[in-house]
Symmetry: D2
Subunit: 476 residues, 4 copies
């Protein structure tokens, strides 16, 4: 059911000053697993040496051994989860990246995506730099290495000033941990505290897992420098409008996280409520599409008073690989992950509530499953506006041509997935659910480029590729 | 969160007459994974030869290769999932068991537990029989092998007549598939149909996954014999009162299954409703303990009108192994599997709804997690009566001394798990939710021995062990 | 180069009364690895319980973990290496076999092959016995289980009296370790001593590896019973002529073993000397076919005075799997395991000395490799007579039709492998090398059935299979 | 037995212009496995793209899958085996190294060791270069990347002109394969031909395995550039005296290789003959220490007329891991790899012939094993002079303090390993065996620094480390 989703590409986590820094980091990454499932890594520092362990797979599989954790020594550690956006899930792409530079070791974990990394990379290669991986993050390390500034902080600031796009970074060098969000603050980053230790994390759920206390958000354009003396805040960039990704609230963040003082769970319920106001439905039951559709469905049900029922039952034991059903039995409608709950929905009119439609393939199967389980009418309500554009700021989206809503009307989509009715929340409705009066069209309060095509930061690499007629992984 | 549960020990599945019999069986076992997670096996037959593949682990891991499935040739296949009740998760214990007997191959998959298997086993060993595994099921094969009756059916009937306890069996021999339920019908067994093929399965959810149609339940004491000519029904045993395990409705079966024309999901909701009537609670929110507590919590919420909220968020990526937090950070309250949803419950009075309390250790942690996430009051309601006795009919229960309710009052338990109030559904309430007027104390309509100690079938091996002062895996 | 060999099928080892019994057994099996490379197992006993570990693969791979060894508790242990003769390398066939019988646990490790096992097995199945594996050894356990005799020893003797063929057994039951050789003593078995502990082993090299002292051979037809009181010798069978397998001296045993007071290495050198006398060769160099041909080649060189040279160099790093060269590069003459030593043989006339020719395929390749490396003439001398018949006493031989010498003259073979001349040692020459005046044709001093077709023990199963027109794995 | 040896660190292989280039390279690396056992890699090129596969382990384990080989597309491929000299057997150190530079892909495989790599590396890091691995080879890539010269060839020449030490390189870039040996030609490199394809390899045995024809040695200081037009030879360096490593003849190279028109096998025999002349011994048998001592032992035996016998038998099945014998049974003298051949040596006076003594620990155990097997006298003769100095040109040697001969007299060593007499070949004797009149002390014909401390190329990094009091992996 998760196959037709957009994917957050990364989660980051860092600990400064705790004797169990690596264990805490592994736990933090575990709590951030939803932000990247293909690889994970930790770099620790014991005051003298850096220790690195990175692997392909889930956090629990990579850090499943006390021997591995015990080699990641020292009271400082940063970690990263990654969902590769290209075909290359190579080990050398796994973050945190690490390099020994002239001033010592430098390591960086990056959530986001730079929009001019390729352009800068080409320049650096012409100057003799050697790139080891295909990730955009590596340009940061090269710029820091080549900078003539005396301190790491100055080198890092100089480097970031030449870069565009989205980045929430955790770096470690010269005994200090640095957290930075790009001037627009596309992706989240929070500061926490655990006894005397400082924590940086993508989301508050990663503070919860280790029992750390939430201190505050890192602000867009802010750089915090953590030393044994405490946390210093810097503002090295020209001030820019905040453009936090609104989709973090709709789907990417974990529902138990709190972003900018807003509970993600409560926001999803409110979105469901507004959706119910905008697109009511005369049905017997509200059925969530598990699991991400549940909060919006609860909001929809509470707003309308229609009973909320688990009309789809999840199999808890779905492994990663399985026998492929042969062509002959595929038509039987194999349901490995979910099953329609006939006992609840037979003979009923239902409305399915889901968070998004990307390609539409999964929605079509769910609707069919509901009808096989006896639903008399199947309506669908979506807690995001139609997705019409790709994301270039750290979310994995399919090519624009594969986004169903980029080329099909809502009625076309309803026909394709074979529902009795279909509605999406409106963009303004979404902003209202978020507590705004409406979307500020001149300067939108959030990044909503995937719904509107209104990209806040120039897509330099994309434009260059179009001029040079090069094919990128993700066409603009 | 599932660690403090009783466990169903087995699931069985069989296909007669479909060219993809083994693939269908693997899918059926996948849908029955909740009935046994430690090992799985399939035996197929192509009209001339038997093919066997068994392994330790989950169905998806054991049958993850088309090469494996393609070796399980033929249009007949039976399969088994197992949750070992003893320490011995040895491969040779994995079912279906298979032996070449004088009349040809014989294979059997067994859900349930025989209460006089050890006694008979000792007699057979004294007569020179060689046992290969420690499972009670092996006595069935030996009795069939030693029987002097001319046909497999007669041999099987003769064998079962000397056995006591719980068994839902699927056997295959002499070109026919045989399904049997013991006279009391402790465990479920259903008959389905997929085009021309016949299916036997523990639960209807395994029919759904392959798109098969539900035909009917196998009755307690019924033996069905499936041949190319069709399904014959036999009644080889003295008639006995039906004693279906009432806990299948409370927890073991999958909510999307239908047993005896009752939707498991709907029964759980009704139990929640009766629980709400018996033990109301003045709170702000109803919070289910995921995932098994959800239907009862929905029933509780619908009956009381109190909002249903996801106060506990599950991490979808919990692997099987993980770094052990050191002693120093254990007190931090590590929450790998779940997290309290502060956004929803902070400052609220909540009632947690769960299906059972076995040892109480998990409940205690959940309550603590709720308080850490800011709940003002935490009450708990349990959709089963207190579990005071072990099960000897196919469910894995801890020793009686480890059952919290066997030696503690409800108030003691409430103190132990540190809730503001605690209530269990009454036994009569449970029967009312099931549609009965009340529990028939003279002849209870279900097996409820784990709540009442009222064992419908003699525990022969237990009594013998007590007399001989032998320690069994599970003390009576 | 080992691919065109006959294979010894089993090695056995046992320790009685040493605190490191399992470790010593693993080491003993390691030294006996040449007698069976497909599976290995150890059963130990701590005075109360038996512990079993068996696996597929080499000893070093199966017992590569101290955790495994430390679970095999107790001062008594027996072990077994196996080279499966049929396609079934299933785990359940791996020895030592173990069963719980009426008098307690019984375990057996068997080197050899019974010639009437199938016949008895069929009878036992008709009486209701259940067989778990396809190995002939399992009939021994069933006969012991069904025997009405009061003691294990009497049961075992009764069982063996009904069995025909080759067996060197190590059994453990009722606190005693039992070693038996069949009346003809086809396969070896020796007794050793390590401090106070008693050792049984197939060959003396397995005593050497643990530093044990050689005590004596177990005699053909002898049964030794080892208890804490010491070693008792029994003679339960009718006396029969000794028929030790002469091929153990030629190829199967390790050269550093001593059998019946004869050094295997020295015997191989003597065979090479007699071969040189019978079939001299006017050449520049004697080149051994590595590694088994080396001692005979040394004998040949010493007898003739012709220099011994390593004309074939072995690659020490040949793994078990490797990329298959495509059809296009196969003709290049890929030499993964060996290479001709051009520096030594270019322009020279050489005689290759090898121990046997089975199918001839490897010999053909070696000869070609020698010519490519520049040898001017290539002659071949073989230190066994032509192999014309299969073995049914514990050696894996191909079907008779695949034995090159069963249907081809020596000149045909010479043409096939493309040598300038070819000679085999004569049967009488072989006996002379062994210290006999000649082969006693009325009652040969050794079993030499593979050269002569003179089978000392009736092939009951074979004859039955021929009568019933059943295909066995190995046709008579 | 191989544990007390010095180790060749690398083997290289390349194919230009064959449709099976990667398969041939895997086979070539297999034949060169003795030159590096810890990791292996292949980089191929199909005319447009480069393909890389590298892994830790043996060639057969890394390239054990046709799927892996088939991804290494194209008619050009280079490969590398590595024995890590430091603790870091990390994947990112595995060669061939590859980088995308401004002119396109560049890949290099290096046999040897640079003596000023650390010094240059430090300079490059200060200029902003980022190093990914700890291997000295990476400086070559950086120098090539930073060079301002227009062509790859000029860039490579410029880079090598600033480097000191030992290198036999195979590079691929801009559609050409380049082979280079450093001006002193420490390590070997040969050119071969297979139909129309060109081959470069460390040794001729790697030509033999694929059936390629030997063309000629690459000369010290020569650079060959292979294009579809053929092989061009360049001499970009100032001419220097040839300093080929004499130990390649003694131990490192495979005996079936031919280096500089000298058969390695024949040279080893000649060394054995000179050793016999210099240090005769009144014994009954000459016993080689397997396997590397065999040719010298044959030479010794042929020169003296004393019989050559296999007094030590190797176990062919020694796996990489094994149960550790407990402290209690260690004293039993466990002999997993070898066993004394009592049948051959009991009561005899023997001389063991081996190629070198490094730490002496293995020699001590062998001598003890010989005495346990009954040898009356045990003498030892070594076919190299005493090793007193470490190698910095591509051979892994222990720290100087661990070289037994660096601080002990021959008599001390004889006492330590407990032999009746001990002798090493003299340095002059070694040169005579190589066909020289004597060692030219002014300008030795070979590099023999490990015997003499006479280092032909400055150890820049070592001297710098001494000045800066840094600890290197290998102290000068």
């Amino acid at each position: 059911m998760q196959t037709d989703k957009m994917h957050e590409e990364c989660g980051v986590f860092g600990v400064f000053g705790h004797e169990d820094a690596s264990t805490l980091t592994a736990l933090g990454l575990h709590a951030l697993q939803h932000r990247g499932q293909e690889s994970s890594g930790i770099v620790s520092y014991d005051g003298q040496k850096f220790f690195v362990h990175r692997g392909l797979g889930l956090v629990d599989d990579i850090f499943n051994d006390t021997a591995i954790i015990s080699k990641l020594q020292g009271p400082y550690a940063i970690g990263h989860n990654r969902y590769a956006t290209t075909g290359e899930t190579l080990l050398r792409n796994v973050q945190p990246l690490y390099a020994e530079l002239s001033f010592g070791g430098f390591t960086v974990a990056h959530n986001g995506n730079l929009t001019n990394a390729m352009t800068i990379r080409d320049e650096l290669i012409h100057r003799g730099a050697i790139f080891q991986c295909t990730s955009d993050t590596e340009v940061i390390i090269h710029l820091v290495a080549l900078s003539k500034k005396p301190t790491v902080l100055e080198r890092l600031v100089e480097s970031l000033q030449s870069l565009k796009g989205a980045y929430s970074l955790i770096c470690f060098a010269e005994g200090r941990m640095i957290g930075v969000r790009d001037p627009n603050g596309f992706r989240p980053l929070v500061l926490g505290r655990l006894n005397g230790a400082h924590i940086l994390a993508s989301e508050t759920c990663a503070l919860d897992i280790i029992g750390a206390e939430f201190v505050r958000n890192i602000e867009p354009g802010e750089m915090v420098v953590i030393t044994p003396e405490g946390v210093q805040s810097h503002r090295p960039f020209a001030r820019a409008a905040s453009k936090f990704c609104i989709f973090e609230y709709i789907y990417f963040a974990r529902p138990d996280s709190v972003i900018d003082n807003k509970s993600v769970y409560e926001m999803r319920k409110k979105i469901g409520q507004v959706l119910a106001q905008e697109a009511p439905c005369d049905v017997d039951l509200v059925v969530p599409v598990p699991d991400s559709g549940v909060p919006a469905a609860l909001g929809y049900a509470q707003e309308t008073g229609i009973p909320f029922e688990l009309g789809i039952i999840r199999n808890h034991y779905v492994g990663r690989t399985f026998i492929e059903p042969t062509q002959k039995i595929r038509h039987l409608g194999v349901k490995r992950k979910h099953n329609g709950n006939r006992g609840a929905i037979e003979g009923k009119r239902i409305v399915l509530v889901d968070d998004s439609i990307v390609r539409g393939t999964t929605s079509k199967k769910i609707v069919e499953m509901m009808r096989q389980a006896g639903a008399r009418e199947v309506h669908m309500r979506i807690s995001s506006p139609p997705i019409t554009h790709g994301c270039f700021y750290g979310i994995d989206t399919p090519s624009r041509k594969d986004l169903l809503a980029s080329s099909h009307s809502i009625q076309d989509i309803a026909d394709f997935i074979a529902v009795d009715s279909l509605a999406f929340i409106s963009t303004d409705g979404l902003y209202r659910a978020m507590g705004e009066a409406a979307r500020n069209t001149a300067q939108p309060q959030y990044c909503d480029a995937c719904f509107t095509g209104d990209y806040p930061v120039e897509l330099t690499d994309c434009l260059k590729a179009q001029q040079e007629q090069i094919t990128l992984d993700k066409a603009c």
